[in-house]
C-alpha cells in the first residue's frame, strides 16, 4: 500500500511554521484553552473527514454532508429535549446519518450517475426537507445530558476528543486490516480489476456512502452538543471544509489512496487555520477563499504527480 508520508510530514512542517509565526506575532495563541478548542474542532471535523475519505477512496464524493450534519443535529436535539436517554439519541443520530448516506449510495449505484450530481441534488433535498419541518426555527434549551457530550471531560480530556480518537483507531484498523477496508482501496484504484477478482463495486460503494453518513451522524453529536442552540443553517459549507481536510490530508481525489492519520492531520490543519485567521487579525470573510485554495493546492500536487490522470481526463465530470 502506498502511504503518503511526504504529505503527512509537510502538514506537520506547515503547522510548525505556522506556530513559529504565531509565537512571534500572537503569543497568546498558545493558551491551553485555545489549543484545546482547536483540538475539539478537529475532533468533529476529523470524524466527518474520515467518512468522506471512505467515499473518496472509491473515487466518488458526497456534497450532502453539511445537510446530513444539520438534520442529525436537529433531530438529535429534538429527541433529547423530548426526554430520550442519551444512548438512544446517539443511536438515532448515527442511524439517521447512515440512512441518509445509504439513500445517496442507492441513488449513485442505482442510477449509475456520478455522485457529484446526485449529492448536489440531495444536498438541497435534505436541507429543504429540514427547513420544511422546522420552519427555520432554532432549537434552544438543550438538556444537560445532551450538552454533557460536547462539554464533558473524561480523565481531564474533552469527550469529543476521546470519541474522535476511538473512531480514528477503529477506522484505521478496518481500512488496513479487514477485507472490507481493502475492498474500498481496490475499487478506487481499479474498478475493473476489482470486479474481475470477484469484488462487487456497487456493494462496496453503497457501504462507503452508508458508513460516511453514519460518521457524519456521529460528527453531529460531537458538534451539536457544544452549543447552546442548534441553528437552522447548521453545516452550510461544511462539505467544503470536510473535502478540504480530506484531500489536504492526502486522500487522493482520484480514488485508491489515503490514510486515516493523514486525514486527521488534514482536519487539524484546517481547524488550526480557521482559528489562526483571528489571531492574525484577518477577517473571517476570507476563510472560504483559503479553504478553496488548499483544496486546489492539494489536488494539483496529486495531479501533477500523475496518478490515474487519464481516467479522470477521459471521464470529465464523472
Amino acid at each position: 500500500m502506498y502511504v503518503d508520508r511526504a504529505r503527512q510530514l509537510s502538514i506537520l512542517g506547515f503547522l510548525l511554521l505556522l506556530s513559529l509565526a504565531l509565537s512571534l506575532y500572537a503569543p497568546n495563541f498558545f493558551q491551553l484553552q485555545n489549543l484545546e478548542d482547536i483540538l475539539v474542532n478537529t475532533s468533529y471535523l476529523s470524524v466527518a473527514a474520515i467518512g468522506m475519505m471512505l467515499v473518496i477512496l472509491t473515487g466518488q464524493i458526497d456534497l450532502s454532508v453539511g445537510s446530513i450534519l444539520a438534520i442529525c443535529s436537529t433531530v438529535a436535539a429534538l429527541a433529547s429535549k423530548a426526554g430520550m436517554p442519551i444512548w438512544a439519541v446517539f443511536a438515532l443520530a448515527l442511524g439517521l446519518g447512515a440512512s441518509l448516506g445509504l439513500f445517496n449510495g442507492l441513488l449513485v449505484t442505482g442510477l449509475r450517475v456520478h455522485s457529484l450530481i446526485v449529492t448536489l441534488g440531495t444536498m438541497s433535498l435534505y436541507r429543504g426537507a429540514l427547513i420544511y419541518f422546522t420552519q427555520g426555527d432554532w432549537i434552544y434549551d438543550l438538556p444537560s445530558d445532551f450538552r454533557a457530550v460536547g462539554l464533558g471531560r473524561f480523565l481531564g480530556v474533552p469527550i469529543p476528543i476521546w470519541i474522535a480518537l476511538l473512531t480514528a483507531v477503529l477506522m484505521s484498523w478496518l481500512l488496513t486490516r479487514t477485507p472490507w477496508g481493502r475492498g474500498l482501496y481496490a475499487v478506487g484504484s481499479n474498478p475493473m480489476a476489482a470486479r474481475l477478482t470477484g469484488l462487487q463495486p456497487s456493494r462496496i460503494l453503497l457501504a462507503a456512502f452508508t458508513v460516511n453518513g453514519l460518521l457524519v451522524g456521529l460528527s453531529s453529536m460531537l458538534y451539536a452538543t457544544r452549543f447552546s442552540a442548534i441553528q437552522s443553517n447548521t453545516g452550510i459549507g461544511f462539505e467544503l471544509l470536510v473535502v478540504a481536510a480530506t484531500v489536504v490530508g492526502g486522500a487522493n481525489i482520484f480514488g485508491g489512496s489515503g490514510t486515516v492519520l493523514g486525514v486527521v492531520l488534514g482536519a487539524l490543519l484546517m481547524s488550526t487555520i480557521g482559528t489562526t485567521l483571528t489571531f492574525f487579525r484577518v477577517s473571517s470573510f476570507w476563510e472560504p477563499t483559503l479553504r478553496g485554495f488548499f483544496i486546489l493546492l492539494a489536488v494539483a500536487f496529486d495531479t501533477l504527480r500523475g496518478y490515474r490522470r487519464g481516467v479522470w481526463r477521459r471521464g470529465g465530470a464523472r
Binding site: 450517475v113 448536489l120 440531495t122 438541497s124 477563499t289 479553504r291 486546489l296 489536488v299 495531479t303 465530470a317
Partner: protein, 325 residues
C-alpha cells in the same frame, strides 16, 4: 441514440412543462395571468444566461459549480468600483472582465493543471465567494444611476428587457453550437475526447473557451441581477449552479457529455423558472423551493439514465465509460 433520445426527451419535457404550469396555477391564482407570464423572463434570465454556457460546459463532459460565486464576485466588483467613483460603464466592463478572468482560471486549472472540473470548480466556488466577501466585508453597494436599472427593471413594449437579452443570446448559442466548427468540436469532445486529441484538435483550447464563456455569462448575469435588485452584495447568485445544472440536465443534455443542446436547456429553464416563480407566488420558502429543484435534478438524471438503458445502442456505447466510473 441521439435522435431517439432527443425526440423522446423533448416530448417528455413538453409534458413536464405543461404539468408544471398546471400545478403552479393550482398553487397560486396569480401564476397563470398574462401579467405574470410576461414577467416570467425577468425571473429566469440570470440563471438562464448561465445555463446557456453551462450547456456547453456539460456537453464537453465538464461541469462548472463556481458560476454562482462568480455572480457574487462580479456584482461586488461592479458595486465597489462604482462606489469608488469609477463611471458605471467602466465598472460594468470590469465586472464582465472579472467574470471572464474567473472562467479562464477554471479553464486553466482544468486544462493545464489537469484537475478534474468538479474539484476545480468546487474549490473555486469557495475561492471566488471568499474574495467577494473579503472585498465587500459584508457590505451592500447601492445608488446606481437610473439608466442602469433599464437592464433589470425596464420594458420594451409589454416585454421585460431580459426577454430580448436572453432570447438573443439563446439564439446566438444555438447557432454557435449547431452551425460552427467550434460547436461541433464541443460535441465531439464530449463524445470522445481521446479521439479528438489523436485527430490533432486542440481540445484544451476549446475547453478553455467553454469555461471562459461560462465565467463571462456569469458576469453578465451579475449585471442583470444587480440592476434588478438595485443592490450588489457578496451573497448574490448563491445556489445558481443548482438551478442552471438542473435546467441543462432536465433539458436532455447528458451529464457525461456529447448529447444535448440549447433548445432543450431553454425548455428545462422554463420548467425551473415556472417552479421558482409559482412557488414564490404561493409564499413557499426558498429552501423548500431548493428542495424541489434538487428533487427535479435527481429525478431527471434518473429518468434519462433509465432511457439510456432502454436504448440498446446507447447501452453498448456507454458500457466502456461506465466500467471506468
Amino acid at each position: 441514440m441521439k435522435l431517439w433520445r432527443a425526440s423522446v426527451s423533448e416530448a417528455v419535457l413538453l409534458g413536464v412543462l405543461v404539468l408544471t404550469f398546471l400545478v403552479m396555477s393550482q398553487l397560486s391564482p396569480h401564476f397563470l395571468t398574462p401579467q405574470n407570464l410576461l414577467e416570467l423572463p425577468r425571473f429566469f434570465a440570470e440563471v438562464g444566461l448561465i445555463a446557456l454556457a453551462m450547456t456547453l460546459v456539460i456537453l464537453t463532459g465538464g461541469i462548472d459549480l463556481s458560476v454562482g460565486s462568480i455572480v457574487g464576485l462580479s456584482a461586488v466588483v461592479l458595486g465597489a468600483l462604482h462606489q469608488g467613483g469609477i463611471p458605471l460603464p467602466l465598472a460594468a466592463l470590469a465586472a464582465l472582465l472579472v467574470g471572464l478572468g474567473a472562467g479562464l482560471v477554471n479553464g486553466f486549472l482544468v486544462t493545464r493543471v489537469g484537475i478534474p472540473p468538479l474539484i476545480t470548480t468546487l474549490a473555486t466556488m469557495a475561492v471566488f465567494r471568499g474574495i467577494a466577501l473579503g472585498i465587500s466585508q459584508g457590505r451592500a453597494f447601492r445608488d446606481y444611476p437610473d439608466y442602469f436599472f433599464f437592464l433589470g427593471q425596464g420594458y420594451v413594449g409589454p416585454f421585460p428587457v431580459q426577454l430580448f437579452l436572453f432570447g438573443a443570446l439563446a439564439l446566438a448559442f444555438a447557432i454557435l453550437l449547431s452551425q460552427t466548427a467550434f460547436g461541433r468540436k464541443v460535441y465531439a469532445i464530449g463524445h470522445n475526447e481521446v479521439a479528438m486529441r489523436f485527430m490533432g484538435h486542440d481540445v484544451d483550447r476549446v475547453k478553455l473557451a467553454v469555461y471562459a464563456l461560462s465565467g463571462t455569462l456569469s458576469g453578465l448575469a451579475a449585471l442583470v441581477l444587480v440592476s434588478r435588485f438595485s443592490t450588489a452584495k457578496a451573497d448574490l447568485g448563491q445556489g445558481f449552479e443548482l438551478d442552471a445544472i438542473t435546467a441543462v440536465v432536465l433539458g436532455g443534455t447528458s451529464i457525461s457529455g456529447g448529447v444535448g443542446g440549447i433548445w432543450g436547456t431553454v425548455l428545462g429553464l422554463l420548467v425551473v423558472g415556472a417552479v421558482r416563480n409559482g412557488m414564490t407566488l404561493a409564499f413557499i420558502n426558498a429552501d423548500v423551493q431548493q428542495m424541489i429543484i434538487g428533487g427535479v435534478l435527481v429525478a431527471s438524471v434518473a429518468l434519462y439514465g433509465l432511457m439510456d438503458k432502454l436504448a440498446p445502442m446507447a447501452r453498448r456505447g456507454r458500457e466502456v465509460g461506465r466500467e471506468a466510473s
